[in-house]
């Protein structure tokens, strides 16, 4: 497995509370991504980062923010959690952004918003 650690692995939170998920990598890869996986929707990109303090939105970014203050850490924050954000969240990394650089995924964080 690529050196990707997601924390926590499981979390239950209440509607309206802020939640932060962490992704830590030991590969020194420049590019990092946050995806969510939902039945019937597959994997959808939330936000991505192409360097320290350089981030951009994906296709489902509403309600989420990200930060990357160090190469190895990429944080995903749900500013005010809603039940629709119940999902499994995956962090991924890649060495380059071009199509010859595969994505390596972490093992996910299962988030339940009650």
């Amino acid at each position: 497995d690529a050196g990707i650690t997601q924390s926590p692995r499981h979390k239950v939170t209440e509607t309206g509370t802020p939640v932060t998920l962490r992704c830590h990598q030991t590969e020194n890869h420049r590019y990092m991504y946050w995806y969510r996986q939902d039945p019937g929707h597959g994997l959808r990109l939330i936000h991505y980062s192409y360097g320290v303090k350089d981030t951009d939105k994906g296709e489902v970014s509403d309600g989420y923010s990200v930060s990357r203050s160090k190469t190895e850490d990429f944080l995903l924050t749900l500013e005010s959690a809603t039940s629709s954000q119940t999902s499994v969240y995956f962090c991924a990394i890649s060495e380059f952004t071009d199509i010859n650089s595969p994505l390596h995924f972490g093992n996910g964080t299962r988030l339940t918003v009650t």
Binding site: I4, G40, G42, F90, I99
Partner: protein
């Protein structure tokens, strides 16, 4: 609009049989087509990928067939094994676009 569509939604195959998963795409600018494999409790992992300059790519028991005119590509798993039971995602990307994933298909290989 879903740019990458997988079929079927689920698949059950007997051990030793051939598993076939299909994928259709919309965007003619896509020029990279990977398949990712995901086991329960794990993240997806790249299984095999193809570029449109070839019609087929084989790696062990796994083969991608690509039909550019039909905008379709498929994954064939020969001699399917229970250990192949997983969720499979097709995806597509172009030079200026991030990977777009299909919805995924659950494959169950019966002993």
């Amino acid at each position: 609009q879903q740019q990458v569509k997988q079929s079927p939604q689920s698949l059950i195959v007997q051990k030793g049989g051939i598993s076939i998963i299909n994928c259709a795409y919309e965007n003619t600018a896509f020029d990279y087509f990977p398949w990712y494999q995901q086991f329960p409790g794990k993240g997806p992992a790249l299984l095999i990928a193809i570029r449109p300059d070839v019609s087929e790519k084989k790696e062990g028991r796994f083969t991608i067939s690509f039909n550019k005119s039909a905008k379709q590509f498929s994954l064939h798993i020969m001699d399917s094994q229970p250990g192949d039971s997983a969720t499979y995602f097709c995806a597509a990307a172009g030079a200026n676009s991030k990977l777009t994933f299909g919805k995924g298909i659950t494959l169950s290989v019966r002993p």
